[in-house]
Symmetry: C2
DNA sequence: GAATTCCCGACTAAATTAGTCAAGTATGAA
DNA sequence: TTCATACTTGACTAATTTAGTCGGGAATTC
């Protein structure tokens, strides 16, 4: 049960962008250097983040990325989902009527895992980019 | 951020053992069949569970495994740790004084991930095998 | 027109996962 | 005793995922 670099880097970079970029575009190279992240990897991540509407890009000299939404309105859970690092605690919830629903003894654990997932999602949904920047995280 | 089969299977098997085995040894083949789990994989897991003192084994005919502790006293978090599926949300907490502690702007996200890990651990520590068996999980 | 920066797809080495397989040891029942 | 059952253990492996790299292109500004 570990958090991969994709999700970690994406959040680090967006926090950096919210923290240091005040309306003005920040170049990816700058973010990458400050956070010690591989730039070509970051490019991949920001491609998705732009397509999903989290950031906007400016090309050319003095270009870079800006937040497309208010930092207060971006939840950590959204970022992880957008980047392709979803929270998967169960395996049998393929929305088919067949398969376990935690109703029989065989799948007593279903509700356990579902509860864990809900717990995680609730936590990450309750925290915004702005919260992280302003150290309002417990 | 996904839960692997190791942790899932281990908990499923222990719940089965607590649920169906009333003091008497349950053979691994029986558990494996009921839960549709690969038996040779379960063997690996029970090796660790025995070494860590969660189950006791009886060899030979009519042998099998029994819980070595009360089902009320076994926390889900312990099982995951014993089996080698720990909760890892951070990467820079190698207990060295060097490295990030969430104190500088570079690692603003540290407390975020640490908080997530704490949240997960708290949830899984608050639930025992007996809770799962008796459907006391929210 | 040159430098900078984003854009995008293809590729890959290494690690992890999710097991299998084979050979043994201990025990109880017939 | 002998046989079937069941745990014990280590070695091995195919497939997937992770964590990136690489190369070329397109837009923008100085």
């Amino acid at each position: 049960m570990k958090l991969g670099t994709k999700g970690r880097y994406a959040v680090m970079a967006l926090v950096d962008l919210a923290y240091y970029g005040q309306g003005k575009p920040l170049a990816l190279t700058e973010i990458a250097q400050r956070q010690s992240l591989p730039i070509s990897y970051l490019e991949q991540l920001f491609l998705k983040l732009r397509q999903k509407g989290f950031v906007a890009s400016t090309r050319g000299h003095l270009g870079g990325y800006t937040l497309a939404r208010e930092a207060e309105a971006i939840r950590i859970s959204e970022i992880l989902e957008a980047i392709g690092e979803p929270i998967e605690t169960t395996r049998c919830d393929k929305s088919s009527s067949t398969g376990c629903l935690g109703t029989n003894a065989k799948c007593l654990t279903h509700t356990l895992w579902a509860g864990l997932g809900a717990q995680m999602h609730q936590y990450l949904h309750g925290i915004s980019l702005a919260d992280v920047c302003e150290r309002r995280v417990v």
